[in-house]
């Protein structure tokens, strides 16, 4: 199947228009900068034209409360064709949750889950973020959204005591997939305890239509006990400093998207992963065993940067969007291909694909497994 065909023509047109707009904005910015520093030469203007200095100018029409979701679910694509005011409510909750079978950890969460609630807004939207910290929390918390242009990504304005609420607004100017996290001191502790999630700023033209979207976030846990050691575990700071995680997991716990909780799709469908890496330390080598990523939006940016990718590198505090068409039934295995993490630390997930097999795609001719069965 070809994948460039899945890009709707309207998006190409809109991107063209957008580029022209941005180029104009950049040109204006160039003029305003001309007064200081070295005089601009022709080549210089050419360089600068690709760097927009943005001014939110979309008319904000109406208001809505964002529907946020828990992983692996993703809010429905935005069908609006105008900017609006989006109210996002995030509740910070500290609670003891499962990290693995018979292993618990007191996690600090955005929305009661790890990773935190998935937020979906449209490029140009005015977002009013309400951060509420549960009254029984032990710590103040705040939020740094990487999609925010502003002090600390919002963190400076959102330190929220237990029982309190902070509110700030920002315009979602840059389309793409962004990580958010708590940035209260000591930041590594808040992140190691589960305080991260993602926000998608959907491009104005939308993303190509797919049949299913999934939200998966990789992160590490550093526990006093060894991997699998039963009981309530707590943060081992030394392991964190040494970058020796006990657990590397997808969606907050070992097996969160495996077994009964495996992701589901059908042959013939197109799927998109919103994949983030919360760290706090490790870079992920995101790979899907038994498939190939048809489109990769490198580092979670707004453009497809590569096709036909086996493994995509996702930085800590970064993200990626990948799209693929499903041609064959079976269990596709999500891994961090730094493979000890998958085998021994929990970085495993399953996308169960059902439907008819196509022998031209793959066929077994002779194998030990076939004989044994």
């Amino acid at each position: 199947m070809t994948h460039t065909a899945s890009l709707p023509s309207q998006s190409v047109v809109a991107r063209g228009a957008l580029s022209a707009l941005l180029a104009t904005a950049a040109l204006l910015a160039t003029f305003s900068l001309a007064g200081c520093g070295a005089p601009a030469v022709a080549a210089d203007i050419g360089e600068r034209a690709s760097v927009p200095v943005r001014t939110p100018s979309d008319e904000i029409v109406g208001q809505e409360v964002a529907v946020v979701t828990r992983a692996p679910n993703v809010p429905a694509p935005i069908t609006r064709t105008h900017a609006t005011k989006v109210i996002v409510n995030l509740d910070v909750i500290e609670k003891t949750m499962r990290l693995a079978d018979s292993v618990e950890y007191t996690m600090w969460t955005f929305g009661g889950s790890v990773p935190g609630s998935f937020i979906r807004v449209r490029e140009g939207d005015l977002v009013e973020l309400h951060l509420r910290n549960a009254a029984n929390s032990t710590m103040p918390h705040n939020i740094d959204l990487h999609a925010v242009t502003g002090p600390g990504g919002g963190a400076k304005s959102s330190l929220t005591l237990p029982g309190g609420e902070s509110v700030f607004t920002f315009t979602a100017m840059n389309p793409g997939l962004f990580v958010y996290h708590c940035a209260t001191s000591p930041v590594p502790m808040h992140m190691a305890n589960g305080m991260y999630g993602m926000i998608l700023v959907e491009p104005k033209a939308g993303l190509p239509k797919v049949d299913r979207e999934f939200y998966v976030m990789q992160s590490e846990f550093y526990t006093k006990g060894k991997f699998g050691e039963h009981g309530l575990q707590s943060l081992d700071m030394d392991k964190g400093v040494d970058e020796r995680p006990t657990y590397v997991v997808f969606n907050g716990s070992v097996g969160a998207i495996a077994g009964e909780n495996a992701l589901q799709a059908k042959v013939g469908e197109r799927v998109r992963f919103f994949f983030g890496d919360a760290g706090p330390n490790l870079t992920s080598s995101f790979h899907l065993i038994g498939e190939v990523f048809d489109n990769v939006y490198g580092e979670g940016g707004s453009a497809v940067t590569q096709h036909n990718v086996q493994t995509t590198l996702v930085p800590s505090g970064g993200a990626v969007m990948v799209e693929l068409g499903l041609e064959q039934p079976g269990d596709l295995i999500l891994v961090d291909h730094s493979i000890f993490r998958a085998f021994n630390k929990g970085a495993l997930g399953v996308l169960k694909v059902t439907g008819a097999a196509n022998a031209k795609v793959f066929a077994v001719k002779k194998s030990i497994g076939a004989v044994g069965e």
């Binding site: 710590m139 005591l161 943060l235 700071m237």
Partner: protein, 235 residues
Amino acid sequence: MFLPLLLAALAGMTHVPAGSYEQLYGKGERVAVRAFSLDRDAVTRGQYQSFVRGHASWQRDAVGRDMADAGYLADWRSPRLAGGALDAPVTGVSWHAARAFCESHGKRLPTVAEWEYAAAASEHVRDASRDPAFRARVLEAYAKRGSGARAGTSTANVYGVRGLHDRVWEWTLDFNPAATAHRHGSAGHEHHAYCASAALGAADPSNYPAFMRYAVRSGLNERSTLSALGFRCAA
């Protein structure tokens, strides 16, 4: 010298000799602390109940919002009746209320310097702040906050002070330089409370317990109340 020590002991206080501690944001300089007296235990619900019975203006239904927010003694059975465990640390009290309590006993709140200095002590040494085992224990204790422990049940540190780390956060007199700058004329440090930049200028970036206390204090104002924030008095 003898008389003040005796009086302090009778009032449930202990003498903390002069010394110094390593300030979180102090470029490694040690801050000198004069000798003072400190309550052995955090003020309990029972003690605070006696206080509000003698000072009706500090009862829940009488306190103005300029003195304490809506969380003030919110978990009490009634304005005059604490209910629950009377030997548990009182929480849900504002800075104004904590100050008033201490003053009614001829005492005051400890300063940040005094509190941090006293809290750096383990059972065996006066400054355990750079001891990884002590630090790990404190972090562990902070993780278990809110489990409803009683006052006076934990091991005393080398000064005889109990429960500085394993009960509740505690008010200090000058808890937030940023919030109280208008009164004291000191510089604000609000940038230290967020982002990785909090590590900039820190004497010891591994002192997570100190960062946590700093973050809690940074978020407070004089009217704040928290279900895990109590106090003890100094003199």
